[in-house]
Symmetry: none
Subunit: 239 residues, 2 copies
């Protein structure tokens, strides 16, 4: 099989170190885009489709965590590795909360980084299946555009959905008339499954129910202890 090179976004403010690392990765068959700071990193991220992001934590203007959060808003899947000079616990924990896939303290061995990269990309590769290609859904008389986060009822003015509302509704729509396990939404959208995220999710279910009220035939049902089910009754054949 023709192996198309994996694309890496490298955000590192130290020009020397950045260049060296970029070269090293390039030699090892990765296609590397280098950004000098968080701002530039985010711009480049939006313009392309990366398989992995490597972010320096300590950067002027916008640090790695902030950048990571922005990236996560756009893309829930892409693996993120943090580079940091200091190894303070708070920083590491913060990184994992933001959804880091790994963490590396500078100075580090480049071969180790390479191994981690390979391990992570391979992991993601095996996960990727039911993925984010689809972003438009017909839900009874509603139409959801999950890219624009618009929910439109018939021909009325679209309602703007918040990121979480949007993801949750999308996840429900992907399982239309079938069980959408609680755990799935929690781990995928909230990235953690505990009492509080679970309560939070309930709040969002309530919000969505309110939005969906205008169509009698659309309902979000609960399956006690399991999850939710988006049902659409009286469904007419779509041409």
């Amino acid at each position: 099989m023709e192996e198309t090179h994996k694309k890496i976004l490298l955000v590192e403010d130290d020009p020397n170190f950045g260049a060296v690392l970029k070269d090293y990765l390039s030699i090892n068959d990765f296609e590397v885009t280098l950004a000098k700071n968080g701002m530039e990193g985010f711009e480049k991220f939006k313009k392309d489709n990366f398989d992995l992001c490597i972010l320096d934590v300590m950067m002027p203007y916008k640090d790695g965590y902030t950048l990571a959060r922005e990236i996560r808003e756009k893309n829930k899947e892409v693996p993120i590795i943090f580079l940091t000079a200091k190894s303070m616990k708070e920083d590491v924990l913060k990184g994992y909360k933001v959804g880091a896939d790994d963490y590396l303290n500078k100075p580090f061995d480049s071969e180790v980084l390479l191994m981690k990269i390979k391990a992570i990309i391979q992991r993601k590769a095996s996960e990727t299946k039911t993925d984010n290609a689809k972003f438009e859904f017909q839900i009874g008389r509603f139409h959801l555009n999950s890219k624009l986060r618009f929910l439109t009822f018939d021909k009325e003015e679209p309602i703007k959905l918040s990121p979480k509302e949007n993801e949750l509704l999308k996840m429900l729509a992907l399982h239309e008339n079938d069980l959408m396990p609680r755990e799935l939404a929690l781990t995928k959208i909230w990235r953690d499954d505990n009492y509080f995220t679970s309560r939070s999710m309930d709040v969002y279910i309530a919000k969505l129910r309110k939005y969906l009220k205008p169509d009698e035939d659309v309902e979000i049902l609960n399956i006690h202890g399991e999850g939710f089910r988006l049902v659409v009754k009286n469904k007419v054949e779509e041409k």
Copy 2:
């Protein structure tokens, strides 16, 4: 929500450190099995079904890598985290080669370990969502969807079943026209076989009988001292 605790196999030869770590993980809602060496670790691994393995690298007789390789032979999926006192490059690389999911140098911060564990288990959880066990059964004129916990009679409105009702009926259906031993349901569904769970099960049998009343040809019979039998009479061939 039915939060079933994740099982962790911890293999660590230092008894003090092992006990402390085990306690720490237990407090954080993991079910931990501690093994004192590679040999014991592998035995325990084979006997149970773990969600994660944490292996010390430096152990007498059988080191962590060797154990990891054996574990990988049995199970390609289970995440493995290595603990090591030394952080020599070769070791780290060796770990990743064996298929480690992460690597941690001793001494390490336990909160960091906890974060890593959660991140890794969550990752795996989202991978394993392709659950295609059988969940639909035809029982006379009834149809059971045990995923949605719906029992439908002919074309009427589905009845919602509680988790226990659902599991019990499913178990009966799996043994249709055959003996479903009391003990089986008790150990599988109630996870305990004693006087009270047995009474509880009787209650559920009564509930199911009530649900199944509409179809004359469907009955749950008792086999004294043995168990129950879901019989379907006058069965017509399904095309």
